[in-house]
């Protein structure tokens, strides 16, 4: 989860603020789990785009299914592995989002993120996994405008 504290608040004048919105200059992560940066294009003539930071994979899928938006880009930031290979966050660009079931976990429903290199990731830590049964495509990044992420090495 994302965490804000009183000192993080940005005092935007009421006339400029959205009703009921709170504005923040900084925040922290409370959980050592994967999180997502989602950019969508609502179907408007203005071609405005919206970027959200989302903590849970199910919220990513629910957000994409809730309204007819064009998925511009989706980046998954995964936590350190703590296995001696990396003590920093790693990331991968997502090409597709699927609803799926996991045969290794009693066929529990899950959300699968297919990365640009074709690998499938799921779970709290967005680990690469095989054998998942994809049941429904939630969204696919628009291929002509796919995200790129040159500065961060591929996740091992």
């Amino acid at each position: 989860m994302f965490v804000t504290r009183p000192n993080d608040r940005y005092p935007l004048p009421r006339g400029l603020a959205e009703p009921d919105a709170d504005y923040w200059r900084s925040l922290a992560l409370a959980t050592n789990a994967a999180w997502y940066v989602l950019t969508v294009r609502p179907p408007t003539e203005e071609h405005l785009q919206t970027t959200m930071l989302i903590q849970w994979d199910v919220d990513v899928a629910d957000s994409l299914e809730a309204s007819p938006v064009d998925l511009a880009s989706l980046l998954c930031i995964a936590p350190p592995t703590y296995n001696g290979e990396s003590d920093g966050w790693s990331s991968f660009s997502v090409a597709e989002v699927w609803r799926a079931t996991d045969p290794h976990e009693d066929d529990n429903p899950c959300v699968v993120f297919v990365s640009d290199d074709g690998r499938e990731h799921t779970g709290l830590f967005a680990e690469a996994k095989t054998g998942l049964v994809k049941t429904q495509l939630v969204a696919r990044v628009n291929p002509s405008r796919a995200a790129a992420n040159d500065a961060v090495g591929p996740r091992s």
């Binding site: 930071l53 989302i54 405008r145 796919a146």
Partner: protein, 149 residues
């Protein structure tokens, strides 16, 4: 800038959070990008590296330089989401932070970021460093490791 609406809140029992703290499932953002830093603080357990997000470079530097906080910076990235059209998603791994002055702007302070790919940018908008900016002092060197954000 990050912003939230009441429906974004993740409600947890008051016993498990600090006074004034609010937890969120979702954060909206506006602006060109944001900084993601991993930090630790004196007294933290070795494995307790914290991840923090900053809108403004000045807030980040204030955190790093504060003698009260004594934060140790472990990694720093600038994350620049896609504009939804031509500009792709981009992350920049920072290896050094410098303080500079801009002689064309009354010598105002400028924060300069040098990336692992030897690119330099400054400010929250991550613009290229103007020729009128002179580096003055190194603020921090960031340990850079492979495959980290």
């Amino acid at each position: 800038m990050f912003f939230t609406f009441p429906s974004y809140e993740y409600v947890v029992p008051i016993e498990v959070k600090q006074p004034g703290e609010i937890r969120w499932r979702v954060m909206d953002m506006v602006g060109p990008g944001f900084f993601v830093a991993t930090l630790s603080f004196p007294g933290d357990d070795h494995a307790a590296i914290r991840t923090m997000f900053f809108n403004w470079d000045s807030d980040l530097v204030h955190m790093i330089e504060s003698p009260r906080i004594e934060a140790v910076l472990h990694s720093l990235h600038y994350v620049c989401p896609s504009d939804g059209r031509e500009k792709p998603f981009e992350t920049r791994a920072v290896r050094q932070i410098w303080r500079g002055v801009d002689r064309d702007a009354d010598n105002c302070e400028v924060i300069i970021f040098k990336t692992t790919t030897d690119f330099e940018f400054c400010g929250q908008d991550a613009i290229s460093v103007p020729h009128s900016v002179t580096q003055v002092a190194l603020i921090a060197t960031v340990p850079t490791k492979p495959a980290c954000v």
